[in-house]
Symmetry: C2
Subunit: 363 residues, 2 copies
């Protein structure tokens, strides 16, 4: 990374500011606190793209009345271990945690709980949800669809979102294994970084607006698409496409949300799809009580052993060696809890703009 | 593919032969029929690596007493929507279908059913299990760990199996979307094919025994490893590693089976790991009743729309255009039901060898 000028803020300060911004739009106090917590976890874990960096977008959407600040989140269908939830066009940051809670409550009763959600919006980092399940000795799952950005393999245009999958497993003495991955080869942000630096992107990250493989960031940004995980057919690009399809169906077809290219945009300036095939975007949450399968302590001891065994892998020459899923985010969190969250100056300006327009003091 | 000499057999003939071979080892008639059905589906769907092509290995394992021909498959722990199953060291081709049935029966009662299985063996194609769930208007999931063959990203040795994930979604007029993918970049068989042809393999498929990236098939085969889906860090190799880890934990840590490098080998000639951390290998099955979430017809109509929308994607220039997951296998099945299953001559010899040693007529 080239050195970028930043200003550092305590996580608690940003969390409080976010909460007050949500409350400004009549989001109920508890819901606003929940939404701010999701954003704060993202910033703490070093995932800058999903924290307060997106507050201005939520602000815009609330201000334009595109998101319902006081949703009645409702179960529209349920069985002992399953539910379909209508998010009433609320903030995904509020609907998501509530639907995740329903999955966990069902898991406490029936061993597992699975919730497909329609009529919702962007829900922050996928990893937030399984991390909450760890507190209850559960294995949590989370998925969401997102605005189209990715080609299906051999497609020449954007048809699927980056559709992430997250799941986490608790250890005893070792930290939890926390998996959180987008099903595209890379994040859009990496293409933007290359553009800012005037660099090419590696072959296999993207196609241009004609559907051709491209190494030009602008080729992707201006009407092109990201590739699915695996990139090319020969390298397994069909597998990334399959995973994105799986997420799309579980989140949207199962709940009655807008799938594939019909997912509504997250931000105001984005194109609105010509078709609507359901309500809002969709999420999918799962929770499995570990003690429904095995003694919790036995499971955690084995996870410790698994983690140590993987760390003990002979390293590939010239590499840092094997990393446990969740390690980088945990290290970021330790640092940022101690030293604060570094925000780039354009983002600080965005937050000041919100402050001016709402009267909520920022700094 | 270069032209290889083959001899063609009716699927029914191969299924019957397999069944009689299993019965020869005192596998109960119904179990033998089940096992033969799993192999037959693999051959029909064109997945030659997992059909009768593996019968001789099952034969060896049964003959050596390494697999229990008459297992008592037992639920050792359960809740309304979950179970842990001990496969009693039976054929995975028998334990798998029975555990999958338990998942589906639970889904019929509780909306979903999730079964983690220990003390089992190789279970054939992962896709068999969700395809069975389609008959009951359920979304089926299946995963299994396998003998170590894949590096965790930045690791210099084999630590994880090719750990596949399968899931399927039924359509109304369109065929089902059937996803079945290994979490490695490519299958081992592709490296073997390159070796036979004297060709190099593409960068990103494999590392050699020193942990270095290699394009030499022998480098991988002789003590090297396959890469996870995504191959390199820059291309998302950490994501494939995360998916393989997820499968490993759900199948093995959750059930009490041997995870990671400690998975016992499938074939006789393979190295036996120095540690045992559980019983046998592990599987994980899931089933979700569609009508627990949404009207079944509504779901299927939306899948039809999803399939047609994806097929309607503008094709990438020079490519065949977007394929729906499961299309290639469905096309193979139509052809092979009509024309039979082509077997390469060395495989025909293997089956004749079984025939001679058991007295079961082959051809």
């Amino acid at each position: 990374m080239s050195k970028v000028e930043t200003k550092t803020f305590a996580s608690e300060h940003l969390r409080e500011f976010s909460q007050r911004v949500f409350e400004h739009f009549e989001v109920p106090r508890e819901d606003a606190a929940l939404a701010a917590e999701v954003l704060a976890m993202s910033d703490l874990r070093g995932i800058d793209s999903h924290g307060v960096g997106r507050l201005h977008t939520y602000f815009d959407m609330l201000e334009m009345g595109r998101i319902n600040p006081r949703p009645q989140v409702k179960i529209v269908r349920e069985r002992l271990s399953t539910a379909t939830v209508d998010g009433d066009n609320g903030l995904g940051l509020v609907v998501g945690p509530k639907a995740n809670e329903i999955a966990m409550d069902k898991a406490a009763q029936a061993g597992s709980g699975w919730v497909s959600v329609c009529n919702t919006n962007h829900y922050g980092i996928a990893g937030y949800y399984p991390i909450k399940a760890l507190e209850r000795d559960m294995i949590g799952w989370s998925m969401t669809n997102t605005t189209k950005l990715v080609q299906p393999l051999w497609g020449g245009e954007r048809m699927l979102g980056t559709n992430p999958i997250a799941i986490a497993f608790p250890g005893m003495e070792e930290p939890a294994v926390v998996i959180d991955l987008a099903t595209s080869a890379v994040a859009y942000g990496k293409v933007e970084i290359a553009k800012r630096r005037g660099e090419e992107i590696p072959p296999g990250w993207a196609i241009d607006s004609e559907g051709r493989d491209t190494t030009d960031p602008d080729g992707m940004i201006e009407g092109g698409a990201l590739t699915p995980l695996g990139s090319f057919r020969e390298m397994g690009g069909h597998k990334g496409y399959c995973l994105a399809a799986m997420v799309d169906v579980l989140c949207c077809v199962l709940s009655g949300a807008n799938w594939g290219p019909w997912a509504p945009p997250f931000a105001l300036r984005q194109h609105i799809p010509e078709r609507s095939v359901g309500k809002g975007i969709g999420h999918f949450f799962g929770a499995m009580s570990i003690d429904a399968f095995i003694e919790v302590d036995e499971f955690k001891r084995q996870i410790d052993d698994w983690v140590r065994t993987m760390r003990g892998t002979r390293p590939q020459p010239g590499s840092p060696g094997v990393v446990i899923p969740g390690d980088p985010e945990r290290e970021a969190e330790a640092l940022r809890r101690a030293e604060g969250i570094p925000l780039v100056l354009p983002l600080v300006e965005e937050l000041r703009d919100i402050s001016q327009r709402t009267g909520i003091p920022f700094d």
